[in-house]
């Protein structure tokens, strides 16, 4: 059942469930930050509408910088601002930032310990019709290997807003991963957001723990509900903070269930699932299945068609659990 302690959206499984893109939550948080903190500045690389920074730009034009289609410049200007007392949010699509400009992020933000928040938009195959060139499936891997980088991958618009506000409080580099499409709102304002992994779906004597990150958490919850109807109890945990990771909870949940499935709209190599596997291999070796992109590129299509085709949907998660012998 849905964990009552987390005050999740009660309409979650209704057809009328509210849908909102995580990038919307980001845009709202920026305006709030602009109002409360004069040191917050925002930069974009010719993507102010789709990265949802238009609102900030209109309200605080003196703290908004348009750098043009130039992603290396985007993050290195942000790095200069971030070492000069500013909290700099640099926004683009994840394939370009931290994709195209990765070494610049590594040197001028991560190693330089600059107070920059990199907002990577249009992550995952969920980006849909634009095709594989614009579907970032590597950004978690690219950012989590950088020392000192915090990595947030929020599950819905409300959590995205909280993650953005939290990012501003961290004095150092942060990566924020966002999705283009509107997705179900899973949490509420009252749901806690911190570095701890929260169990969104609880069961007695669970057979498997499903760790999910980003909007696919919803597919994992659908799978859990369906499995419960078939008397297969599972846990579903939300990994909103990929780094620094909550090792204790990961080990505890793996111990409780004895088997693990990870779910992410990202390459299975190097992503959230790899992070879980690294910890379990070290602290409590546990059988594990990885749902995500299996070393392939995406293609054009409707978002949910792609999620189905590449087997990251409710059915694929359910099958992975049932076939776990």
């Amino acid at each position: 059942m849905l964990n009552p302690d987390l005050k999740l959206n009660q309409n979650l499984f209704e057809a009328t469930v509210e849908k909102k893109a995580t990038r919307e939550g980001f845009g709202e948080a920026l305006i709030e930050l602009g109002e409360t903190n004069p040191n917050v500045v925002v930069l974009t690389a010719d993507l102010s509408e789709s990265t949802k920074v238009e609102g900030f730009a209109k309200k605080f034009p003196e703290r908004f910088y348009q750098v043009g289609v130039a992603e290396q410049n985007l993050v290195s200007i942000a790095a200069g601002l971030g070492i000069s007392g500013k909290i700099a949010f640099a926004t683009s699509y994840a394939v370009f930032s931290p994709g195209k400009n990765w070494e610049t992020v590594r040197t001028t933000i991560a190693y330089n310990q600059s107070n920059v928040k990199i907002a990577g938009h249009h992550s995952g195959i969920m980006t849909g019709p634009d095709g594989a060139t614009h579907q970032s499936l590597e950004d978690i891997a690219l950012t989590r290997v950088l020392p000192g980088m915090t990595v947030f991958s929020p599950c819905d618009a409300i959590e995205a807003k909280k993650a953005t506000l939290e990012a501003a409080k961290i004095n150092g580099p942060v990566y924020l991963r966002f999705t283009r499409e509107k997705t179900p709102v899973i949490t509420t304002e009252q749901t806690p957001f911190d570095n701890q992994i929260q169990t969104f779906w609880t069961s007695e004597k669970p057979k498997v723990t499903i760790f999910a990150t980003g909007y696919l958490l919803y597919q994992a919850l659908l799978a859990a509900r369906s499995l419960a109807e078939q008397n297969i109890p599972v846990l579903v945990a939300n990994v909103a903070t990929v780094k620094p990771c909550d090792e204790d909870t990961i080990v505890e949940l793996a111990r409780e269930s004895g088997k693990v499935v990870t779910v992410e709209d990202h390459q299975v190599a190097g992503g959230m699932g790899s992070m879980i596997a690294e910890i379990l291999a070290k602290k409590r070796p546990t059988p594990i299945k990885f749902i995500g992109m299996q070393d392939a590129f995406g293609e054009s299509g409707k978002s949910l068609e792609l999620v189905r085709k590449f087997q990251m949907d409710e059915k694929a998660i359910e099958e992975a659990v049932k076939n776990f012998s």
Binding site: I83, E103, T107, T108
Partner: protein
């Protein structure tokens, strides 16, 4: 006024530049690796910065109103370390730790290792952009410090440089001054063979920068150019400083083999003899 410079002060700066070159040779011999030619070539400019141009306080390197000196082509950090030590940021003795385990003097400069460094650098093309960020912060904070960015000519093959040049020109960042070490060498040879940069001046003019060109070994000319840059209110300024790589050591000058090489004991001895002879000449002037 920056441009007020007595003959006596000029002579003192020339002696200091010579001393900095000697320290570079000693450091690189001790380190066993590093970039000699560019470090020697920029000795006059670094000396002018640390001992005349910069508003700074070596005992309080985090002073908020200090001028910012950003080294984009981080590989020539030996000359920065030498002039920083000479001006009191850390003991001159520490120069011997360059590139060694546990040293604050990393092979390429790292901001959080050594107070007084403004950025981490080494990977090329990233300095102007960071300087832009710092210059924008100065404007937001209504601070009047100057932001100086040192780049190299070979580094201008990086796309990031031109992304930054466009932005600074468009935004009329008059508190930003770039100094380019125009020494015509890079690892694989002559810059004009590897990838031509000329007409260099016209390129920057087209990007809406105020462009000055000077002899990078004429300290007075360089200081005058900085003074002029301060007077330009509606554009960033770039000073193309023509320098001789390896300047001061005859067998290193204009030889791209010395771009990324350190002298051995014998070469260092010869180099020091030449530099000491130059020191005696300046002292006798």
């Amino acid at each position: 006024m920056i441009s007020d410079l007595s003959e006596e002060k000029l002579k003192d700066l020339e002696l200091k530049a010579n001393q900095a070159r000697q320290l570079v040779i000693e450091m690189l011999l001790e380190a066993g690796s590093g970039h000699t030619a560019g470090s020697l070539g920029m000795a006059d400019i670094f000396t002018a910065f640390y001992f005349h141009i910069l508003k700074h306080d070596p005992k309080n390197p985090a002073w908020l109103d200090r001028d910012r000196l950003i080294l984009s082509n981080g590989h020539i950090c030996p000359i920065r370390y030498a002039t920083m030590a000479m001006s009191g940021y850390f003991p001159v003795e520490e120069l011997k730790t360059l590139r060694k385990l546990g040293s604050r003097l990393q092979g390429h400069p790292h901001r959080t290792s050594l107070p007084g460094l403004e950025t981490t650098s080494g990977p090329l093309g990233e300095g102007i952009s960071q300087g832009i960020g710092i210059a924008l912060a100065a404007k937001l904070d209504k601070k009047d410090y100057q932001v100086y960015v040192l780049t190299s000519d070979g580094e201008h093959e990086e796309g990031n440089i031109w992304e930054a040049a466009m932005f600074a020109g468009k935004n009329k960042l008059s508190n930003l001054t770039q100094v380019i070490d125009r020494n015509f060498i890079q690892i694989d040879g002559d810059t004009e063979n590897v990838m031509p940069l000329e007409p260099f001046k016209a390129k920057y003019e087209a990007f809406n920068w105020h462009v000055l060109e000077i002899d990078g070994h004429n300290i007075r000319e360089f200081i005058d150019a900085i003074g002029q840059a301060h007077g330009i209110a509606d554009k960033p300024t770039v000073i193309i400083a023509n320098t001789i790589p390896g300047k001061g050591v005859s067998f290193m000058e204009k030889d791209c083999l010395w771009h990324g090489k350190a002298p051995n004991a014998e070469e260092a001895k010869k180099a020091m003899e030449e530099l000491k002879a130059q020191q005696a000449e300046i002292e006798q002037e």
